[in-house]
Amino acid sequence: MADISLSGAAQSVDSIQSSYGAQVQRRRLYGGLMLLLFVVLMVSGFNIADDRNAGGFWNGLHQIGDYPADVLSEAWEKRADLPVLIAKYFPALVETVNIAAVSTLIGAIGGLVLSMLGTRGLARWPRLIPLFRRISDIMRAVPEIVIALVLIFVLGGGPVPAMIAIAIHTAGALGKMFSEVAENTDLKPVEGLASTGATWSQRMLLGVLPQVAPNFVSYALLRFEINIRASAILGFVGTGGIGYELRNAMGWGQGRFDDAAAIFILLFGTIVFFDQVSSRYRNRLTEGQAQ
């Protein structure tokens, strides 16, 4: 009897060891296979992309510095004109930032409504939660350029198509992030307000919004950073702003390098400036909440 149990214990140690060994081995095998698959995907993907590119990677690699060097040297030669050029393109920059700001504001308002309507416990019509979630998914999935190009056709060029396009995408993206925050709200203030006979919008405005405002503002600021980049890029495909000026400067024969340099400086400076400001403010918002 004792013998049997002893041998049983020895067996179980053995079997545990062997099964552990097998598990480790299988893990390593899977890990190795995954790594192999990843490497194969990367290498073959790189080769396909290289094949389908107009210029090859290895041919282009040593030219990579040529263009920046040309731009910099010409800008340096004409450095006296640079302040004038910067002043000339400043209004375009303001337009780009305005597009980003307005679309962030509109998108944040839209995202707020979408998130409230799509969050369990807060929704006005609980049965329609999946509908509002799908709406925000689809709005998030549409790249800005799609809406912008279609709207340029209908509305003509200018900042309005870019503004609408970015606002739609922002509403979808913020709707999702807001609703993740809104899920964790304390429902007691909402119930308290409901007991006084408050309407749905009053409950949301007075019961939920004060709780989530710091997080919402922080997310909206992050979006604003992203939207500045987006509005600059959309300018390149035909809406106004600094991106449009960049395309014109580039498309001018060989390219007006001094203009391009001025635009590069403006764009770089703006992005870094707003990144710094918004990240400082966001830190304050989220830390203030933790205290």
């Binding site: 107009a54 030219q63 999935a141 350029i145 279609v150 987006a230 390149f236």
Partner: protein
Amino acid sequence: MTAIDLNTTKQHADRLFQRKRLIGFGIPAVIAVYFLYIFFAFDFAGLAQRANLENAVTLASDSWSHKVHVTRDNRSGETTYAVEGERKGRYPDGQRPEWVTGKDVISIDIGGDHIVRYLPQNRTEIDIPGMALIKVQAKGRKLTHNLPEDRPDWISVSDRRIGIVTPEGRITMTGARTEVFNYFPGWELFWFTLDSPYHGHSVASIMFGERLDPARSNINGALSDWWNNAMWRHKDVAWAIGETILMAFLGTMGAAIIALPLAFFAAKRFSPFMVVRATARRLFDFVRGVDALIWTVVLARAFGPGPLTGALAILITDTGTFGKIFSEALENVDQKQIEGVASTGAKPLQRYRFGVIPQVVPVLLAQILYFLESNTRSATIIGAITGGGIGLMLTQAIQTQKDWEEVAYYIILIIVMVMFMDWFSGWLRGKLIGRKN
């Protein structure tokens, strides 16, 4: 004493209320003023003039319908039939739609009892219910007609050109040609073009019916004809979507691979020298600040247009973003785990491998997968600039300003692609690091 106390408290509360009220009304007021400024800065008032509602109507109706052109060349007297008026959609010789009948007098029934007849000697008769029979004669460059002076506004007339727009279809006549556009719902020739033997056959008859093309088996032939469809270019579209996803994949993964070692230099815990740390951080800030747009422009000069340029632009920008996120994650690692590993006599490299990496991998993977999805969208946009992928096809289709059904098709594909990548990255995250987070 208490009275004074109460007074000051009350004053304090009053002031607090006043400030809240000021903020409560002030912020919306500031936003409203800003919107007002934007209203003028963006010239919303002039938008009404610039906006082209006709374009919107064409876009909306063309995106879900197609038209078949029946064109008579008034010089040669020849009549051709083509979907969307494109060469690729032309009916083969001897074939024509079944709503066209007659030999010498070609009679075109565009529906709703609207009938157009092409008569010999470049004469045209149009029979519209509730109207007298319209007769038009083309001679040289001029047109003669029997239209009354007080005609409805859907008929436009000059001596060179007559246009008639009805809900059933459109008729335009010039000296050189007479054209009828007949509208139908749906995307025509989506599966097979008219020159394919499989056009007009049902799925069942292709799958199980008799062999339609003696040279090939039905399924093979049908698949290859569909894949090489000249109108809808399914093969090119599939390649373009592949290119876009490839750009996002290469860019994201390449950025992660480059950013991970650099992030160690930027994290306070792993990089004792201030100079190294500051250099790494400034490098991240720089490549992030230059932005994908400028990188795309610069790289396109070196590598030419194509998917590789897009992938590299994403790679460089995201190296900065990843570097920042990764180094923050590395600064937040728990020291205890590293000490535990060190107490077993592990060397520095082993300490990183078993003490640090397991802690940060879930955070990094979550970020990488999130960026993979978001970069699919960026790759669409960058592709439109640098010339690769579905973004380029979309811009080209929009620029031609007539293939709106193709534009609608591409838009649907792009949305499906992004939603698929969203789902896929979520699924992969669940598989790799567990459902929660």
